[in-house]
Symmetry: C2
Subunit: 469 residues, 2 copies
């Protein structure tokens, strides 16, 4: 181990076990060098690394201080999170995604809606016709920014919502994850700060780790805490926010228009970019599609990401980012990774979305998902003990279930795995040090006896564990 | 600008304009600090950054020295290249790829074979049948490592070649570029050294820049210079080599089995990984598919990447990496980027490759490409002045043309663009500081009068420029 790494390790341990409390000043470079026998340069290099890890912060002319730690009991409004510690979440996500493909009762844990609800025979016929008609699926559309007709259609939908958009603002991507990935990559450099909701789609944690970003979170479990949001923007040199405000994954809430307008205002004030994850935008149960923050964005601080995966099937792998001024940079990055999106599917999708069948399809899945979610909610509520709280929001296809205190949702997840059942524990969406008492349930499937049995079983486990604790 | 960045900038300028020659010792930290009035810590931080940029190197207990620079006239066998300078190549690649979609006569410049040659109506019918038969294209195959039957088929092809392979060794990717991207990502961390051939597929330069890698090149224009290869492995702490040894892009040569066996031996001796780019493996003109280095690799130092794009069309976006022990890590990375590959296309491809039609298709395209390449070679040779040298190798569909001395292929490329013609200049494949006198021609299309006119025109330009210089 290098000398400076040794210093990093020693101090990290002291911070983690609580010997060094938040905001404690670290010894001066000179003092610590004398104490350890290492050079000042070694100590400085170690302190810099600790800063990069988010474990300490520097104050102009005063030295280095221990950062507010996630592991500490004290709850602060704005928390700094050590990004490197997320490696654990990363492998956990991997195991969870593998479980979804290997276990028998995986539908509750799945992130995708029931394929039977999303399946559309007209689209499949369009693909079939395109495949037969074309001798080959190669075409110029194989290159970014993607099929012009499809981009025109997507731009038109934005414009109809009051967000004037040109086809050239849109870049077609390999699903929304690719869009989010590319956006974050273009807007940040390693070491930058990004701001996340305290509970957030695990992809955000993974990408933060991948790109070497420092993560700040703010509490936003069932609404956006605007004060905490602004406090974070004020306190940290945040480069990018990543927010999900419509039909939030995993919790399910949709943020009000007033709050979104205020967020847009704060972005402009603090000159911070927003990567807006809006993959569930079409799955509202009300009369109108909720607006994104982008609607209120005058100065192009927002990159809005969405996809067809949640309305036409995950296998489509066709998403997009409304990249605007960043279109060229996004395409640059694309040319260095997956290159492009299958042009035949883009073409078929362009043909299908141009018909009225697409809007009809959306109306149908909305109504079907609303019914199924309602049915899941009523059934689960009747089965689970009253000590469980079920968060029901009228959009999407997730329910967010809070277990009684002292019951750990990760333990429940692992116990159920042994019985071939997959749920989605909150540990995947939060700092792994936080108390884990929630899990997500996919309720896009038709309720049946199997689900009754599974929830009776969950109920039994909860009661047993409750009586033990 | 931070103080340390100011120091970085000042020294970088002195190195680039030649004031500071290679292997010159930089002033000591203390001396330079006194000279500039900055702190020792600032200077140290700047020197470290210069080292990360590949501009200087540190010697134990002796200080910092200027690295061997690519911009220097002196030709050495092994050259260190400043990766950051490749930003320029990156935008150039972008402009070139854009030109391919926008200009009228782009086929000469295209990297992909004529879609009419690759098109296969049986495959398209299989896709059509799958689309019609399935209500939805979502299925479990949407998750890495991809369709089991397709992976089984790919593994079987390796095994037949004498490379024992299991389906679990294979990860399906979004084309070969994605496979190369994921492999490099898994094997390196920013700041690592990688070794490239001096002329190489531009994707390698781009990915090196993207991942913050230091690039070392060794001369290998028409064969592998094993002495230079070993010298590089000896001199630099190379983590990964990226080599293309079959039907090299852009030059076209295929390396002998003896050399490949020796490369495998050197990898094991120096404990260096190889990312083997073998996308043209099926496009040999001889009797047998040339072996990859992987064949000689006993200790799993090789990640072999290929795809269906060059035999079934670029739009497929289905490639793979024979990841072996790295399968899990590759899948990890995949789950953080494009997630997966369209499962319906994977399924259709699995069905198609299981028939005899796939091998027949390969035989047909090989014979057709051989004829077309031969025809291009004869025609071009008859038209271009004798001062041009055309490199003809019996595989693939590229010709590599060397212009007379004093004629710059980048200037030719730009002149032709003004006449709506795209060729591929060598600047895209080499350090931008190298002398540019080559260009690549795609000869997978049927020779016709239009090509005659274009080459007559090129010939005229060369003669004019030759008489001026």
């Amino acid at each position: 181990m290098l000398k400076s790494e040794q210093v990093v390790h020693n101090i990290a341990v002291l911070i983690e076990n609580g010997t060094l409390q938040s905001h404690t000043k670290l010894p001066s470079l000179r003092a610590y060098a004398q104490q350890t026998g290492f050079s000042v340069v070694t100590i400085f290099s170690a302190y810099q690394r600790l800063e990069a890890l988010g474990l300490v912060y520097a104050k102009e002319k005063s030295g280095f201080f221990v950062a507010a730690q996630a592991s500490m009991a004290k709850q602060t409004d704005v928390q700094a999170v050590e990004v490197t510690s997320k490696v654990q979440v990363n492998s956990r996500v991997f195991q969870y995604l593998k479980a979804l493909t290997q276990y028998t009762h995986a539908s509750l844990g799945s992130a995708f809606p029931d394929p039977d609800v999303l399946g559309n025979s007209r689209l499949m016929n369009t693909i079939a016709r395109n495949a037969k008609y074309r001798k080959s699926y190669y075409s110029g559309d194989a290159m970014p920014p993607g099929n012009a007709t499809l981009r025109q259609f997507i731009a038109h939908k934005y414009t109809l919502q009051g967000i004037p958009t040109q086809a050239d603002d849109i870049v077609i991507t390999s699903g929304a994850l690719d869009a989010l990935n590319l956006s974050l990559q273009v807007l940040t450099t390693p070491g930058d700060y990004i701001l996340l909701q305290s509970t957030v789609f695990y992809g955000a944690w993974q990408l933060a780790e991948k790109f070497g970003l420092k993560v700040i979170t703010f509490p936003s479990d069932h609404e956006i805490n605007l004060d905490a949001f602004e406090a974070a923007l004020k306190k940290y040199p945040i480069k990018v926010c990543w927010l999900m405000l419509n039909s939030h994954n995993p919790i399910g809430f949709t943020v009000s228009q007033t709050v979104k307008a205020k967020i847009a205002q704060l972005l402009a004030t603090y000159q911070v970019y927003l990567v807006e994850d809006d993959v569930y935008q079409e799955l509202y149960f009300g009369l109108e599609k909720p607006l994104p923050v982008q609607y209120y964005d005058q100065d192009q601080w927002v990159l809005h990401c969405s996809s067809f995966s949640k309305v036409l099937g995950a296998g489509a792998r066709i998403g997009w980012v409304r990249a605007g001024q960043f279109s060229d940079k996004i395409q640059h990055q694309q040319l260095m990774s997956s290159l492009s999106v299958n042009p035949m599917l883009q073409y078929a999708l362009a043909e299908f979305t141009a018909t009225l069948h697409y809007e009809k399809h959306l109306r149908q899945i909305r109504s079907q998902l609303a019914k199924r979610k309602q049915s899941f909610y009523q059934n689960i509520k009747a089965i689970l003990p009253e000590s469980c709280h079920i968060f029901y929001y009228s959009s999407g296809y997730f329910l967010w279930i809070e277990l009684p205190k002292h019951i750990d949702s990760t333990a429940l997840y692992e116990t159920l795995l042994m019985h071939d059942i997959v749920i989605t524990p909150s540990i995947l969406f939060q700092k792994h040090t936080a108390k884990q008492s929630h899990f997500r349930v996919n309720c896009s499937y038709e309720w049946n006896d199997r689900y009754s049995q599974i929830f009776e079983f969950i109920s039994k486990i909860i009661k047993e564990w409750n009586s033990v604790s």
